[in-house]
């Protein structure tokens, strides 16, 4: 938590920048400046009763005056009684839609006299991710740890050339639990510009802060003025308030040991009876990175291509080896997903693979809630509750 007094933030490059204030026109100018700099600006926009990320050219493309109401298994858009530009949180998509788009061509192959040759795909556009929430900025950093060390030829250039305009959260959804994951509701690093929208007492302004040299340059091109102390305090207070409002919490203390020790907990089978293995949670998760490749061939056999697409540990095929799938039950597949995210991720990448965005809760068709399932495992911890006691028996027979 930051102090409730105005202060200046140091950018990632060490330079200290004072918070600026812009209005809606200033936000339009910001989008315009990014377009001028050659970015394809992608941001939230309403598509079919849902907020999805798409190309935007002005604030008119944003879901102005819209809020989202989210609960386990529920996502609804409603009208607000104000003109907030960012009065909602996260929809089903995350920025992995652009950083590892499903259906990306890895390479094309052409038959030649010496077998074949492979050709790398064309460079994608440079993206400006506009309106990235702190949880999603944290998710991008988590995916960096997966992809950047491996040079897959696709991710690095997309990521390194991207520009991030983060938006601090002031009104969390009931499915949000970023505060307990330490990833929000304010953005700490990994952004070029951070905005905080303030809408109260007839005022409507945006606190704009640079997080990189390029962010500083972009802000310098706008007609922005230095923020007054009370404007900064008001903005900070809204974000602090958001942390207090968060409806959900995931206890991370001793999480890895808890989950590793509970692989044989009969409760997984109980979750497996509810889980439809639909893969929604993995598709909407901003950190889930599992993928598969499809090899395609032209009808005449002269050319081929390899396409990468998202995969999910909830499918039977995912763990198939000759003879059968390793994880044949839904409970084992849920266990793999949750244990990977919260426990083995820590062994693999030294971080937890969950940022608390709550998407998997809202988009689960049967409303399975990761925070509740972790709490249930904690309650039924087989290190403390021996198998055969009523609580475990009850769980196994439910």
């Amino acid at each position: 938590m930051w102090p409730l007094v105005p202060y200046t933030r140091a950018s990632q490059d060490g330079e200290v920048t004072a918070p600026l204030v812009i209005d809606r026109e200033g936000v339009d100018a910001l989008i315009g400046e990014l377009i001028n700099r050659g970015y394809e600006v992608v941001g939230p926009t309403v598509r079919g009763q849902t907020i999805l990320y798409d190309t935007i050219t002005s604030t008119g493309d944003l879901p102005v005056g819209i809020r989202d109401r989210q609960e386990a298994g529920t996502y609804r858009l409603e009208k607000r009684d104000d003109d907030a530009l960012f009065g909602y949180v996260v929809g089903p998509q995350s920025w992995k839609q652009f950083l590892t788009p499903p259906g990306t061509v890895f390479w094309k192959g052409l038959r030649t006299e010496d077998g074949f040759e492979t050709v790398a795909p064309e460079e994608p556009p440079k993206y400006a991710f506009f309106g990235a929430r702190p949880c999603d900025v944290a998710a991008m950093k988590i995916q960096d740890d997966v992809y950047l060390p491996i040079e897959d030829g696709l991710y690095t250039s997309r990521r390194k050339r991207s520009f991030t305009v983060a938006v601090n959260c002031t009104e969390p959804a009931s499915t949000c639990f970023c505060a307990s994951m330490g990833t929000g509701p304010d953005v700490n690093e990994g952004y070029d510009i951070a905005l905080t929208e303030v809408l109260s007492g007839g005022q409507h302004y945006f606190l704009a802060e640079a997080g990189s040299d390029e962010g500083t340059d972009v802000l310098a091109a706008l007609a922005a003025r230095d923020a007054r102390d009370e404007e900064v305090v008001k903005a900070r207070r809204l974000v602090v308030h958001a942390a207090d409002q968060m409806g959900r919490k995931l206890e991370t203390d001793g999480l890895k040991d808890l989950l590793y020790a509970n692989l044989e907990n009969p409760y997984w089978a109980e979750i497996g009876e509810r889980c439809l293995s639909c893969t929604n949670c993995t598709m909407v998760c901003p950190t889930c990175f599992c993928s598969t490749v499809e090899d395609r061939q032209a009808l005449d056999g002269s050319s081929a291509e390899r396409v990468r697409t998202w995969d999910s540990c909830f499918t039977l095929d995912f763990s198939y080896i000759h003879g059968g799938a390793v994880r044949s039950s839904a409970g084992a597949r849920y266990r793999q997903w949750l244990t990977h995210k919260l426990a083995s991720w820590q062994d693999q990448f030294d971080s937890i693979g969950c940022v608390g965005c709550g998407r998997c809760i809202a988009w689960c068709p049967v409303g399975i809630d990761i925070t509740k399932e972790v709490a249930a495992i904690r309650e039924r911890d087989i290190r403390l509750v021996s198998v055969g006691t009523p609580i475990v028996k009850e769980a196994a027979s439910e």
Binding site: F106, F116, L263, S291, C313, F318, S319, H322, A343, S344
Partner: protein, 269 residues
């Protein structure tokens, strides 16, 4: 991430459904460590992980033994000399042959599991004086399904290598043991206090083998196994091969049992 085309030098049919491909390596040579694998690509059809079965001291060929069990392995085994297949790799960890120097080495395998162990066998035989007793225990379904049968005959004729073979079902001329490969362990000569074991086969076979060796005084830091999981990338990116905290493609496929921990043996993990 791009497969490199390699010319098929020869194709040998080992068994009904199992073939060994010899490929001309790209560039000047080819180096790998015993137990490693490559991702082999059939143009336009797909890519699969295949263990390398060649001699590690021979850098002039890439040798891979493939069982045809699906569309990609069908295509890979249908090639003729002069055709091209794509190769990525070698990837993964290797059999720690050095850790067995000055000790007895026990190699226990079943079925096509002999293929990824062949490079290790060739390597230790190349430096035979560095090891004490070397024993190969091999199990196959039937006498007709013994992989590398001619080479097994040759190895069996050596005085410095003990080869014991069992089959699940004998035939009229089979005079050897019938039963699971673990039943051969009692007939091998090794010092359980210091010997090193390399094990590769179906997971259930490896489990029982480990149990048997541990009950005979082995410790799990001298037990090494080769794990199989679904793989799409071979470099720790696609997520398919996860086994507890490990990516089998880069943290394995060869694991020291003491480093795996119990979690890896949990059902359906």
């Amino acid at each position: 991430m791009h497969p490199v085309p390699c010319r098929v030098h020869s194709v040998v049919r080992e068994l009904e459904d199992t073939f060994t491909l010899e490929l001309d390596p790209p560039g000047d040579g080819w180096e790998f460590a015993p137990g490693q694998f490559t991702m082999l690509y059939a143009f336009g059809i797909g890519e699969v992980p295949i263990s390398i079965s060649g001699d590690p001291s021979d850098s002039s060929r890439i040798v891979q033994t493939i069982r045809a069990v699906g569309p990609v392995t069908d295509a890979l085994t249908a090639v003729s000399p002069g055709d091209f297949v794509g190769v990525r790799g070698p990837y993964g960890t290797s059999w720690p042959t050095g850790s067995a120097e000055g000790r007895d080495l026990l190699i226990i395998t079943g079925g096509i599991g002999l293929a990824p162990l062949r490079p290790a066998i060739l390597e230790v035989l190349d430096h035979r004086d560095r090891y004490d007793n070397i024993t190969l225990l091999y199990g196959a379904r039937s006498p007709g399904e013994l992989l590398f049968a001619e080479e097994l005959q040759e190895w069996r004729g050596r005085f410095d290598l003990e080869v014991l073979i069992t089959v699940d079902r004998g035939d009229q001329v089979w005079r050897g043991p019938v039963g699971v490969v673990t039943s051969l362990i009692g007939r091998a000569s090794f010092d359980p206090e210091s010997a090193v074991a390399f094990v590769c086969g179906p997971e259930i076979m490896m489990r029982f083998t480990i149990q048997e060796l541990l009950s005979r005084g082995f410790t799990d830091d001298r037990l090494h196994i080769s794990m199989e999981r679904n793989m799409k990338c071979g470099i720790g990116l696609c997520g398919h091969c996860q086994l507890g905290p490990f990516f089998v493609c880069k943290d394995g496929p060869i694991f020291r049992c003491s480093e795996m921990g119990d979690t890896c043996w949990t059902r359906e993990v």
